[in-house]
């Protein structure tokens, strides 16, 4: 039921032949970014030379706190303006498109700090996500019969998605009454209401209890089966290993490594970044957490609960 009839599931094996290095070309990139720089005063938060994101697969974006992952999301989705750089989505130059127009192109993002619309019901949060609503026009809004039918269709879709995310019982509650984990679920479900081609999730599992994490992972995988592209930021290496088809590692604004998760743990640059070898600028690495995560990344070992600030 997608408005993008061309969505097709992609076989992850297309990445087998891709070079495991920063900026590697992909067989069929949905998003291509070149020369993106963002400075905050003297700090270079993002300096991405080249990045291609393969269509229809799950790409994990990892890196220590302050690496520039969130800033990169903000730039790509129009919430922030780069000092330099160009990027295309579906071959279309995105340049200075404002956030709402980026979203309308089929590229939707969620936020690291969840943005549940507290004093709106869960159902209305969901309905809000639906694109092309004729009742959002001021004059049509006044004549309810003009949009009733579309509203009913939207509601049907919302009910189905809420079911899938185990939130149906909260449908009529204010979103502000949800737990932190439920809000993450709601935000993701709401983003799916836009029927996106590309969904960018900024730490979707942070603060979600382990029982929910499993179902959330299931949802992300099912997005791939529907042919949607997923980029997600995550600290938990177990999660990254479980669902990602490709991993991109950022540190100090730059992309320092790319490859399948199996190759990333052994990558010397990644281990250095997490252990803080280049720890010369006044960045806010939490040494204990990052060291722990690096050890786990390197050893490919057990779970780590990544927290960001």
């Amino acid at each position: 039921m997608s408005r993008f009839s061309e969505l097709k599931a992609v076989d992850p094996s297309v990445l087998d032949s891709v070079a495991q290095q920063p900026g590697a070309a992909k067989p069929d990139p949905v998003l291509t970014a070149t020369g993106i720089t963002r400075r905050f005063g003297g700090l270079i938060a993002v300096e991405v030379e080249h990045l291609e994101v393969q269509r229809g697969l799950i790409t994990a974006l990892i890196g220590p706190n302050g690496a520039g992952k969130t800033t990169f999301f903000n730039l790509i989705t129009g919430f922030d303006l780069p000092d330099d750089g160009t990027w295309t989505f579906e071959g279309r130059e995105m340049g200075t498109l404002p956030p709402h127009k980026v979203a309308r192109q089929g590229m939707v993002r969620t936020f690291q700090l969840t943005k549940a619309l507290s004093k709106i019901t869960v159902m209305d949060n969901m309905k809000l996500g639906a694109p092309n609503q004729s009742g959002e026009n001021f004059f049509r809004a006044l004549v309810h019969p003009l949009w009733r039918q579309q509203e009913d269709e939207i509601e049907e879709r919302a009910i189905a998605l809420l079911d899938r995310f185990k939130l149906s019982h909260m449908s009529d509650e204010f979103a502000g009454t949800l737990s932190g984990g439920q809000r993450k679920l709601l935000e993701m479900a709401r983003a799916l209401m836009t029927d996106p081609k590309l969904i960018m999730l900024d730490e979707p599992m942070a603060g979600v209890n382990p029982a929910l994490t499993q179902s959330l992972l299931g949802h992300v995988k099912s997005l791939r089966d529907e042919g949607r592209t997923v980029i997600f930021v995550e600290h938990d290496m177990d999660v990254v290993r479980d669902i990602s088809d490709w991993v991109v590692v950022m540190a100090e604004g730059m992309i320092i490594a790319e490859g399948p998760h199996s190759a990333i743990g052994e990558n010397q640059a990644v281990v250095d970044a997490y252990l803080g070898t280049h720890h010369d600028s006044a960045l806010t690495f939490d040494d204990e957490t990052t060291a722990k995560m690096a050890a786990e990344a390197a050893a490919g070992a057990d779970s780590a609960e990544g927290t960001d600030t």
């Binding site: 956030p99 709402h100 004093k119 809000l128 001021f138 809004a141 309810h144």
Partner: protein, 333 residues
């Protein structure tokens, strides 16, 4: 003390012109703040647009009063655009600063001596209600008399049309708020960036809200001067205190609630008249020693009492009369 008289005063005010035009202006403010989260501290400026638009059209250009109303509405629409274009892309507080200043600037401009031929300068404008009163339907010729309260025929016509406009305004708001458009409005109030990330044009919808709420402000100004029979650029008619009283009325009723601004305006006006006449009678009957307050000070005293009452309300019922306490608690997280 004559309690019957005190209560009939209070009820007369609760249904009278002040409650009526406050309700209109507060409906607009509720669209701005209650539903969209826009901090408009210049509702009096929109009232000026309506009032002067009406009066100047009639007195200077001999236009029909209905056209005068349209002119007033157009003027307030332009005022909204002028305020919104530079500020609505910025943080919410910029609109607050700009509206409070712009409303006051507008009031000072219309009372400028150099504009005397047009706006009447500090004298304002009189004699623009004849056409409006000529249109009064016959059944109001004797005024309205309910026994314990009564309104003159002139007042009755303003009140009749004004309260109908209030009801239409509430109905109009209802249709809008319970639509996808209203949903976007509330989403912008809750979190603009979340709305943007979902493809909603927050800037455009905030602009629409600013214009719409401003139109209700203009209607408030129009019915205010139709009742008063003159437009005067004084602080108590069109200054910042007027804006704040409208805020009080809205908060009293319940911000973001359909009937909140109307009920709030009715109660605000009723309470003000009640404290006023009760105090006056108490002073006259020597229940309150003249050394504490005299008759002249009653005018100020009632505002002090009203302020205290508001504090009590904010402590025990911060959500207003119609508000939902659960909703307010959600603000905390």
């Amino acid at each position: 003390m004559d309690w019957g008289q005190i209560f009939s005063f209070a009820i007369e005010s609760a249904l009278g012109t002040q409650a009526m035009y406050f309700a209109l202006a507060a409906i607009g403010l509720n669209i701005h703040f209650g539903y969209t989260g826009l901090l408009n501290f210049g509702q009096a400026g929109f009232m000026i647009c309506g009032a002067y638009g009406l009066a100047i059209s009639i007195v200077e250009y001999d236009l029909h009063w209905l056209i005068g109303i349209v002119v007033g509405l157009i003027a307030s629409g332009i005022f909204a655009l002028l305020l919104g274009i530079p500020t609505l892309r910025l943080r919410a507080d910029y609109l607050a600063i700009v509206t409070i200043a712009a409303a006051e600037i507008l009031r000072i401009v219309v009372r400028a001596t150099s504009l005397r031929g047009f706006t009447g300068g500090s004298n304002g404008i009189n004699g623009f209600t004849a056409g409006f009163q000529d249109a009064r339907p016959g059944f109001l010729d004797g005024g309205i008399d309910l026994g314990f309260i009564s309104f003159s025929s002139r007042q009755s016509w303003v009140l009749f049309l004004g309260w109908i406009t209030v009801l239409l305004g509430v109905g109009f708001t209802y249709l809008l708020i319970h639509s996808p458009w209203g949903r976007v409005l509330k989403a912008v109030r809750e979190d603009e960036d979340a709305a943007r990330a979902l493809g909603k044009n927050a800037y455009s919808v905030k602009m629409q809200s600013l214009v719409l709420g401003g139109l209700f402000g203009a209607l408030g100004g129009i019915f205010f001067v139709l009742a008063q029979g003159s437009v005067q650029p004084t602080p108590q008619d069109f200054g910042t205190p007027k804006t704040f009283f409208i805020w009080v009325a809205m908060i009293l009723g319940g911000t973001g609630k359909l009937w909140g601004p109307v009920i709030g305006s009715v109660i605000f006006s009723g309470l003000l008249a009640f404290t006023d006449s009760a105090l006056r009678q108490a002073v006259a009957a020597d229940y309150v020693p003249k050394s504490i307050i005299d008759g002249v000070q009653v005018g100020q005293m009632r505002f002090i009492l009203l302020g205290l009452g508001l504090m009590v309300l904010m402590i025990y019922r911060p959500q207003g009369i119609f508000g939902d306490k659960r909703e307010l608690a959600l603000d905390a997280n």
